[in-house]
């Protein structure tokens, strides 16, 4: 590799990283504001203005940054930072709007679905370690709850991701089934039979229920339960360290929303409208933002307003028994679909409906 090539990679990484950081932070906060506004309306309140999350961050930056004397200071300070940074790096691997993922497009660097699954762990892990390192009983209880929640929701999440890739590897003649670029270029909806369609809907539903736990939202927010353990693992955090966690939450919401879009709704508006060049880009981005809004509305806002918090052992039970079974049902549907399609020679759903 020539030196100019390396320079190009580093420079594009620099540009891409700056762009994506800006995007993640700003839209994370905007969607946080929207979420709060809608939740307030659903509860019959007026709610804060949309820019409230930005004001919150500014406020946190002005406040004192307390490090409790029980805390292990270097771990305590580093954890929020690592969490936010690794959360932003996930955005590099996700296709946003009509564009391919930055890591795929601008650079040669690549990452696939399993990598995203693991990178998603790091922010939670950073929160857990931050909580443990603050040396407060409340924070420790919260952190261990977060860890138990992670174990719990990872089971259905793994089922969803592996099932999708497995089905895709059977029906579509593609390499790299774990690559998000492949998954979003060959949407599974059209390629499978009717039973598989039902299975896919079940998997989507399961993923919608996994998302609140991934984002520590009600009803799976027992790690942060304000009423019993006073914000749990973040109880000792204040000032700019807390702001880091606040931003991580926002970015993670965008990441999860984008991931759901890439897995299940990778459609774009521009081919349908027949747009090209800049207008196509604008249309795709707008469409992406609308999709993101809808996904967040259904997987976060509606659920968190309408349900009460679960106890931690109930969280584990919910994920390991009903939701895992649901995911397995989805997987079995996909498996059946394969046998039925090959045995009775059923065309994929897209041809059944006459769309293909």
């Amino acid at each position: 590799m020539e030196l100019s090539e390396i320079t190009r990679i580093v420079l594009t990484t620099l540009g891409g990283a700056m762009l994506i950081t800006l995007f993640g932070l700003v839209f994370g906060l905007i969607y946080k504001g929207i979420d709060r506004k809608i939740a307030a309306h659903m509860q019959g309140r007026i709610g804060p203005p949309l820019k409230q999350p930005f004001l919150d961050v500014r406020k946190l930056f002005v406040k004192e940054n307390i490090v409790p004397e029980n805390a292990v200071d270097w771990v305590f300070n580093l954890a929020p930072l690592i969490g936010l940074v690794s959360c932003i790096t996930i955005l590099l691997y996700l296709p946003i709007g009509g564009f391919p993922a930055i890591m795929d497009g601008v650079m040669y660097g690549k990452g696939d679905l399993i990598l995203i699954l693991y990178l998603l762990i790091i922010p939670s892990l950073a929160m857990v370690i931050g909580g443990f390192s603050s040396g407060s009983p409340y924070a420790t209880v919260g952190a261990q709850r977060e860890m138990a929640t992670m174990i719990a929701y990872e089971f259905p999440l793994a089922i969803i991701i592996i099932s999708l890739a497995w089905r895709l590897s059977l029906v579509a003649d593609v390499t790299n089934v774990f690559s998000l670029a492949t998954i979003s270029s060959v949407p599974l909806w059209g390629l499978i039979g009717p039973i598989g369609f039902i299975g896919l809907v079940i998997l989507l539903f399961t993923l919608f229920l996994v998302t609140p736990a991934e984002l520590s939202k009600i009803p799976f927010d027992s790690p942060e339960a304000e009423t019993e353990i006073a914000d749990g693992l973040m109880v000792e955090y204040s000032g700019r360290n807390l702001a880091m966690f606040y931003l991580t939450d926002g970015v993670k919401t965008v990441v999860m929303g984008t991931l759901i879009i890439a897995l299940f709704f990778p459609y774009n508006l521009s081919p349908i409208l027949g747009l090209t060049s800049y207008s196509a880009m604008a249309a795709d981005i707008m469409f992406y933002l609308v999709k993101l809004f809808l996904v967040i509305l259904f997987s976060v806002t509606l659920i968190r307003v309408s349900v009460a918090r679960l106890k931690i052992d109930q969280v584990v039970y919910t994920y390991w028994v009903p939701l895992t079974l649901l995911g397995l049902v989805g997987l079995i549907c996909l498996m059946w679909d394969q046998t039925i399609m090959t045995q009775f020679n059923i065309p994929p759903i897209i041809e059944l409906l006459g769309l293909g």
């Binding site: 590799m1 990679i9 580093v10 990484t13 620099l14 891409g16 990283a17 700056m18 994506i20 950081t21 930056f61 002005v62 406040k63 004192e64 940054n65 307390i66 490090v67 409790p68 004397e69 029980n70 936010l84 940074v85 690794s86 790096t89 890591m103 650079m107 660097g109 690549k110 990452g111 696939d112 679905l113 399993i114 603050s134 407060s136 009983p137 409340y138 420790t140 209880v141 261990q144 860890m147 138990a148 174990i151 719990a152 890739a165 390499t175 790299n176 089934v177 774990f178 690559s179 027992s222 006073a230 000792e236 700019r240 702001a243 880091m244 106890k311 052992d313 969280v315 584990v316 390991w320």
Partner: protein, 118 residues
Amino acid sequence: MISIDELFNTFNTGNGFWNPVLWLIAFVIIFLIIYIIRGFGNNSYKKGTGQTQVFLSGNPESDFESMHVKSSNLYWGWTESMKWIIDALKSIHTGNVSDYVLWFVIVMGVLFLFVGLI
């Protein structure tokens, strides 16, 4: 010897890929950006005052030893809901050498059964 080219190679698994070096570069860059942003925040607090004490809803802080959550109490929620499986596993682990050998014989027997010898 190893060329720079090889170091930048993407690790291909046949169905997916992962390039650690580029991730690391991106991570470092974003880390610097966030670190600079974080630098705008307030850095000070009052050391040694009530501020730095652990929040216990206003209760007095007890000695450190008793405030450290012991490891056997961690993951209560998980162990509680998985109790049945943990208890079953615990009862298998007797620590008795005879049982270890018994398990060996059982595994051998099961394999014999599977292969259809007995």
